[in-house]
């Protein structure tokens, strides 16, 4: 069961929440879940997820699991230096999103990869 902050209506029903408040969503997550702050208008809402949203990568550690932004040219990534999918106009090769492909490879616009 997720622990409600006293005096706060039980508005946050997310599965991964450990403590939450109606206004800010999850304040802490259950073990092994990733805490991510989503901005909705002026508010920041805590969300507990099994994997970080697109554009962020997961980092697990004994104390807590965090979501960190990928490099700007990546749509998704494994860590800050290794992309798994590129933004439009960039092409993936060995974890790098580049505008041009290495010699011998050509750009595939559908997969956004050097093939």
């Amino acid at each position: 069961q997720n622990k409600q902050i006293s005096g706060v209506s039980s508005g946050c029903q997310q599965g991964g929440c450990l403590t939450c408040s109606d206004y800010n969503g999850c304040l802490s997550c259950k073990p092994r879940f990733f805490m991510h702050l989503e901005r909705i208008g002026m508010k920041q809402i805590g969300v507990c997820m099994t994997s970080c949203p697109p554009g962020f990568y997961d980092t697990r550690s004994p104390e807590r699991n965090t979501c960190t932004k990928c490099r700007s040219e990546c749509d998704s990534c494994f860590n800050k230096n290794f992309c798994t999918h590129c933004r439009a106009g960039f092409y993936l090769h060995l974890g790098k999103c580049q505008e041009n492909c290495p010699e011998g490879l050509v750009r595939s616009d559908t997969q956004r990869e050097c093939v």
């Binding site: 599965g15 092994r32 099994t50 697990r60 494994f78 230096n81 290794f82 060995l94 974890g95």
Partner: protein
């Protein structure tokens, strides 16, 4: 080139779909179905055959029966994270020939479902992290020849699954972090010739084979942080493309000579929180991409590291060592240096730092320096912070600070000074001189127009800065009328903090004779 991939079946546009969907899901027109967090215990029926993305995460599905996804031949991404999956039937994933991404993290699996993974010939990303996996059968990933990213972190592995990785020539990123691995055998990753990233942090690695990284010719990131290594990981010699290396928070006592001689592309090395006592002087030379080097507490280190060709350093921290001298040509190599922290060493003399023109912060705190020459800081027009506290400085050349036009913070406390030059310190806002008992003269505010905070050896010396007639508090509103070239008088309100502030119990004891 697969043309119909452009026109993904059912792809008609964005937004909610009026197309066929299960009541337990919300579907979009591109073939995506989101059935996450609905309390489902089984895979819903009624979804379209052209579903390419199916999110079943955060439900209560405990097992996957045979052929449960047989109606989804076009599925490319299947999310099953955050269920209570403990069993996957060997035929559960049959028919998913186009599956590229399979997410099984945050479940209850005790072993890799190797039989079920058979025939997933297109799979590129496989997440098995945050389960309870203790064994990885050797044939687990045999058929997954397109596999690029594999997550096995946060499980109960006690050894590197060498056998199962033997056929993974296309694997590019692997994490085995947060497991209980204590040893890495030689040739553990021998065939992973495409591997770029390897995370092994938060294990119990105490020892590694000298050839354990053989074959990793493309590895760029190796994370060994938070382990129990007692000896420097010599095996990194096999990693010619290494750019990022982390082994902080281990038990390593020394870094040998030539430690990184085979890793010329290194950009970052995280090695803090090790009981380092010795660092080979030649360990860090020829690392032309290294941006930052931070060595603290290598208490037995006596020689300043040789940094020839390590010429991209922007930050150098070497503190808590027995280093007693700095090479005279330091700045010939380190032209890009911005922060230099050589505090808590045994340095007696400073060379000229003239070539380090980008230096912004310098700390020589807590050394044995006795004098500052004319040329020591010459040309350092970008310098903002200079900490020379806790030395034995007796003399500072009158032109020593001439070019420090950007200096805002100067700490000369706890030295043996009698007088300090102020020419050139027009931007100074904080000056610390306390702990110079021989300095009895009064400093004038004349050369220090921007000063906001000053600490002095004696209270009476503050009278020159805060006006002793209204000795109420140490920080005072002090109106200064400044005539700005002609009649206009511009009133500047200047808040000046001076300590120790004169007061009833700290009278201006040297009042008579020398400052009235």
């Amino acid at each position: 080139m697969c043309l119909w991939c452009f026109l993904r079946p059912g792809a008609t546009g964005q937004g909610q779909s009026t197309a066929v969907c299960s009541p337990s899901c919300s579907c979009d027109e591109d073939g995506g179905a989101d059935c996450s967090g609905r309390g489902l215990t089984t895979v819903p029926t009624g979804l379209r055959a052209f579903t390419y993305y199916l999110d079943l995460s955060m439900n209560n599905i405990t097992e996957l029966p045979a052929f449960v996804f047989k109606n989804f031949p076009y599925l490319e991404e299947l999310r099953l994270a955050g269920n209570d999956l403990s069993f996957i039937h060997p035929e559960a994933l049959s028919g998913l020939h186009q599956l590229k991404v399979l997410m099984l993290q945050n479940n209850q699996l005790k072993t890799v479902p190797s039989a079920a993974l058979k025939n997933l010939h297109s799979l590129q990303s496989l997440r098995l992290d945050a389960n309870h996996i203790t064994t990885v059968p050797d044939d687990s990933f045999e058929d997954l020849q397109q596999l690029r990213h594999l997550w096995l972190d946060d499980n109960n592995l006690t050894e590197v699954p060498v056998g199962s990785l033997r056929h993974q020539a296309n694997l590019q990123a692997l994490t085995l972090a947060l497991n209980r691995i204590s040893y890495i055998p030689d040739n553990a990753f021998a065939n992973l010739t495409s591997l770029v990233v390897l995370h092994l942090h938060n294990n119990r690695i105490k020892e590694i084979g000298d050839n354990c990284y053989s074959g990793l010719l493309n590895l760029e990131t190796l994370d060994l942080n938070f382990n129990n290594l007692m000896v420097f990981p010599k095996a990194i010699e096999a990693l010619p493309k290494l750019k990022e290396l982390g082994f902080h928070s281990n038990d390593i006592a020394s870094i040998p000579e030539g430690a990184f001689h085979n890793n010329p592309l290194l950009r970052t090395i995280h090695l803090y929180d090790n009981p380092l006592s010795f660092v080979g002087a030649s360990a860090f030379q020829n690392l032309s991409d290294l941006h930052s080097l931070m060595l603290r507490g290598a208490s037995m280190m006596q020689d300043f590291p040789i940094l020839t060709w390590t010429n991209s350093l922007e930050s150098l921290t070497l503190s808590g060592t027995k280093i007693s001298s700095i090479p005279a040509n330091l700045c010939e190599d380190l032209k890009l240096l911005r922060t230099l922290d050589l505090s808590y060493n045994e340095i007696k003399e400073l060379p000229s730092l003239q070539g380090c023109v980008r230096l912004q912060e310098i700390s020589f705190q807590h050394n044995h320096i006795q004098q500052i020459d004319r040329g020591t800081f010459q040309g350092l027009s970008a310098l903002r912070l200079l900490d020379l506290s806790r030395n034995a400085i007796r003399v500072i050349h009158r032109d020593a600070f001439l070019s420090l036009t950007a200096l805002t913070n100067l700490d000369l406390s706890m030295n043996s000074l009698t007088v300090i030059p102020t020419t050139g310190l027009s931007a100074l806002s904080q000056l610390k001189l306390s702990g110079n008992p021989q300095m009895k003269n009064v400093l004038t505010a004349k050369n220090l127009p921007k000063l906001r905070s000053i600490s002095l050896p004696y209270a009476y010396q503050c009278c020159a800065f805060v006006g002793c007639d209204s000795m109420t508090s140490s920080s005072e509103e002090y109106d200064v009328k400044k005539s700005t070239g002609g009649e206009d008088v511009e009133r500047i309100s200047m808040i000046m903090h001076c300590s120790p502030s004169p007061g009833a119990f700290k009278p201006c004891e040297h009042l008579l004779g020398n400052w009235m």
